[in-house]
């Protein structure tokens, strides 16, 4: 009986990777199908029962479509290129130094803060009546009234690009840090430097080629995300120069249901745009590789130094802008009176918080429940996959990694629209299950990325020792591996929770307006212009994931306060 149960459990564990892939690739596929069919006129619920190219024709005729496509490509590729350049420039200047490790500790919590919170803070900072001009006025600008220029139209999408760079650079930096830990980066750098190459030159010529392959998928994810981002675009793009993703949202929300076909065609186009952007990126990679190879072989010892130093300065500038944005937002939430051009409020109060706490309570609770549930489910699946991998001794290849990245590379707009059509048809929109599952799609890959390396790096001899003591693999997992991985597990949970808190589009689509989170509320309020109210929501939205990170980084130290061997590294 017991043996039967054990073997059933083992079978379940073996099936875990396949089950996990099905659970989160199935919906992506189904969602894409749900967008492709209506894009060609097939959506029986709305009277479309024959295939046609009409939606595409309508979309092509829609005023401003090509401008929006151009805007998406430009802003996305520029943001990705700048983020990558800053990341590698900073690494070239600082890898192996104390500053490098310190930046890792600064960036990890910044990564936890949702995109929308940054975008809102940035809007506060850069708006004509924002904090930046307040501190400069009237002594530098000479004006006592806010200038009569608007944040929009911003015809080149510079605000959008800035916000994306602030958010994506920490992500790429942390991914690069992980990649560096897997190659003999320090030794390689040391050898090149003893051959007379400057630090930056040595890094670009010897370390970058070692790690680029490993950070390529995260870069693709950044490219795809940046060309299709929705919440940041809503907050920072002018209404006259929308991105494609904004047009799709506009169509999907149009009271005229005929626009649903247009939205579906737009979703397909968005997928095409993301793939095209990745294609352009790959083209760029080839060119740079060819030029770079010639540069590497040329023997120059000092090139790249200026680039690395500028990138380092820019990274510090960006981190400061990011932090100042968040602080500015927090100040607004406590401001009673803050007249232009005062640099700080002249009266402070808790009124905003007491007044809006009632309204914020429900979305905050939803955020917490959905985030914890999605992270917990994802953790169970990821641990099952990793344990199954460990017991079978088979490491998944590059292809499996691509599968994992699918929900990060296929634009959210593209498959969530279709997924919503499916959810509506089975009547699940607006349920807890639908919302948690929609978040799970994005929580799972990040949680996997966070946990896989520490799990695989755990010295296998601990496990061998335990097994040779006659202990079953299941018991080894619960008693040895899991406790030894406490820190990694908690950090992974915090990552998953932070991803969930930040999700905008999945919440809009799966929540169906019935379930709202702090992020959807913050974005919705941002349209209203009441900075105190927006401040409250944005601060709450930023605080939850930060609290998760602080808890995850402090808790293991407390649990294992009497175990010196558990303090570092594990």
């Amino acid at each position: 009986m017991a043996a039967e149960r054990t073997s059933k459990r083992t079978r379940l564990l073996k099936a875990a990777p396949a089950l996990t892939l099905l659970l989160f690739l199935g919906p992506v596929g189904a969602g894409l199908l749900g967008a492709v069919l209506p894009a060609f006129g097939y959506l029986p619920a709305l009277g479309g029962d024959s295939l046609s190219l009409e939606p595409w024709r309508q979309m092509a005729d829609y005023p401003g479509l090509w401008g929006a496509v151009g805007m998406s490509l430009w802003s996305g590729l520029a943001a990705a290129a700048i983020s990558v350049a800053l990341t590698i420039g900073f690494c070239a200047a600082c890898q192996g130094t104390r500053l490098f490790a310190a930046m890792g500790r600064v960036f990890a919590p910044l990564l936890a803060v949702p995109h929308a919170a940054f975008a809102i803070g940035l809007a506060f900072l850069l708006a004509p009546s924002g904090w930046l001009l307040r501190t400069l006025s009237p002594w530098a600008t000479g004006s006592t009234l806010p200038p009569d220029i608007a944040l929009s139209p911003d015809p080149y999408g510079l605000n959008l690009i800035l916000a994306l760079v602030i958010k994506e650079t920490p992500f790429l930096f942390l991914m690069t840090m992980g990649a560096l830990a897997q190659v003999p980066a320090d030794r390689t750098l040391a050898i090149a430097r003893t051959l007379g190459y400057s630090r930056a030159s040595a890094w670009f010529k010897t370390v970058l080629p070692l790690i680029y392959r490993q950070i390529r998928l995260p870069i693709f994810a950044v490219v795809a995300f940046s060309v299709s981002v929705v919440d940041v675009a809503i907050l920072l793009t002018g209404s006259t120069t929308p991105t494609l993703s904004l047009l799709i949202i506009r169509w999907a929300n149009d009271p005229d249901l005929g626009f649903q076909f247009l939205a579906a065609a737009g979703s397909c186009l968005q997928l095409g745009v993301a793939l095209a952007a990745i294609g352009l990126w790959i083209l760029g990679e080839r060119v740079i590789a060819r030029v770079g190879l010639r540069w590497t072989a040329g023997g120059g010892r000092s090139g790249g130094r200026f680039f690395a130093r500028s990138a380092t300065a820019a990274v510090f500038g960006l981190a400061s802008v990011g932090i100042v944005s968040l602080v500015g937002m927090a100040i607004w939430s406590f401001a009673a009176r803050w007249r232009w051009p005062d640099a700080l409020p002249s009266r402070w109060s808790l009124d905003n918080w007491t007044r809006h706490a009632g309204g914020a309570w429900e979305p905050a609770l939803t955020t917490l429940i959905v985030g914890l549930a999605a992270a917990a489910i994802a953790l169970v699946l990821v641990l099952a996959c990793l344990e199954a991998e460990d017991r079978s001794g088979r490491r998944p290849g590059v292809r499996a990694l691509w599968l994992l990245y699918t929900p990060l590379i296929v634009p959210q707009v593209a498959f969530l629209f279709g997924a919503q059509v499916l959810l509506l048809s089975v009547g699940l929109t607006g349920t807890w299950g639908a919302l948690i599952w929609a978040h799970l799609l994005f929580v799972l890959p990040y949680l996997f990325l966070s946990l896989a390396e520490p799990f695989r790096k755990l010295d296998p001899r601990y496990q061998r020792t335990a097994l040779c003591l006659g202990v079953s693999p299941a018991r080894v997992f619960w008693r040895i591996k899991l406790p030894m991985l406490t820190r990694a597990v908690l950090i992974a949970l915090a990552v998953g929770f932070a991803v969930s808190v930040g999700e905008y589009l999945p919440t809009i689509f799966a929540g169906g307006g019935r379930l709202t989170t702090l992020t959807t509320e913050a974005v919705a309020q941002a349209g209203g212009g009441d900075r105190r109210l927006i401040g409250v929501y944005a601060v709450l939205q930023a605080t939850l994931p930060l609290a998760g990170f602080i808890l995850a980084s402090q808790l293991p130290g407390w649990i294992f306060r009497n175990r010196r061997g558990m303090r570092e590294g594990l």
């Binding site: 079978s392 001794g393 088979r394 010295d459 296998p460 001899r461 601990y462 496990q463 061998r464 020792t465 335990a466 097994l467 040779c468 003591l469 006659g470 202990v471 079953s472 693999p473 008693r479 040895i480 406790p483 030894m484 406490t486 294992f560 009497n562 175990r563 010196r564 061997g565 558990m566 594990l570």
Partner: protein, 216 residues
């Protein structure tokens, strides 16, 4: 009942290439056989194979037995083969006492477990150290705990994968005597892998050189 560890034509290969000339060997109860050979000759991998944790990149052939019990195909936890590595590998999240208790078989009552742990602590000259963090012990103390933890599981054979190499000379001698005395007292067949001729000498037993297959 002590029984011999029997290797019958046991060989290992990786990617179709044999690591060493297949080995046929009987290690009698209370006997220690030393395996030596150059790095990469497959000594440690052979021990992994015997305790059932051979990495999947390797394939093994031949048969191994403990007395009449065939080991091949058994899960590591069912083999009752203990192993000690170069590092003591005490579980860092458990106390010294919990580490020792982890080796005890399930089904003992609480008082019995506590008594056996206490005895082991005395045996390791660590009386009263049960609640201590293993990270606060000296290298020699940790090594003794690791050895006793292995013996707590009541293994029928002991595999030693260079367990003395990280200790300094004086400690090494002491710990060697500790391990071999315990193994002999329990009449365990012992297979020792080492690079150090002194280790081999200290066992006073046979030394077998693992050779690449083309050198025979």
């Amino acid at each position: 009942m002590a029984e011999p560890l029997i290797l019958d034509d046991v060989g290992l290969s990786v990617a179709g290439r044999a690591l060493f000339t297949p080995l046929t060997l009987t290690v009698a109860p209370a006997e220690t056989v030393t395996l030596m050979g150059p790095s990469g000759s497959g000594k440690s991998t052979l021990l992994s194979h015997l305790c059932g944790t051979l990495p999947p990149a390797f394939t093994a052939h031949g048969r191994s037995h403990l007395g009449t019990r065939a080991l091949d195909g058994l899960a590591p936890e069912a083999r009752r083969v203990g192993i000690l590595f170069q590092d003591d590998l005490l579980f860092p999240h458990l106390s010294v006492g919990q580490n020792l208790a982890f080796g005890l078989p399930a089904g003992l009552d609480k008082a019995d477990r506590a008594r056996r742990v206490e005895e082991a602590l005395i045996d390791a000259q660590l009386e009263g150290f049960g609640a201590r963090d293993p990270a606060t012990l000296s290298g020699g103390q940790r090594a003794r705990v690791a050895c006793l933890r292995t013996l707590m599981a009541d293994p029928q054979a002991l595999l030693l994968d260079e367990p003395f190499s990280k200790l300094d000379a004086a400690l090494r001698d002491q710990f060697r005597r500790f391990v071999f005395d315990h193994a002999r007292a329990r009449r365990l067949p012992v297979l020792l892998v080492t690079h150090d001729p002194n280790d081999a000498e200290a066992t006073g037993g046979r030394v077998i050189e693992l050779r690449p297959p083309n050198q025979t």
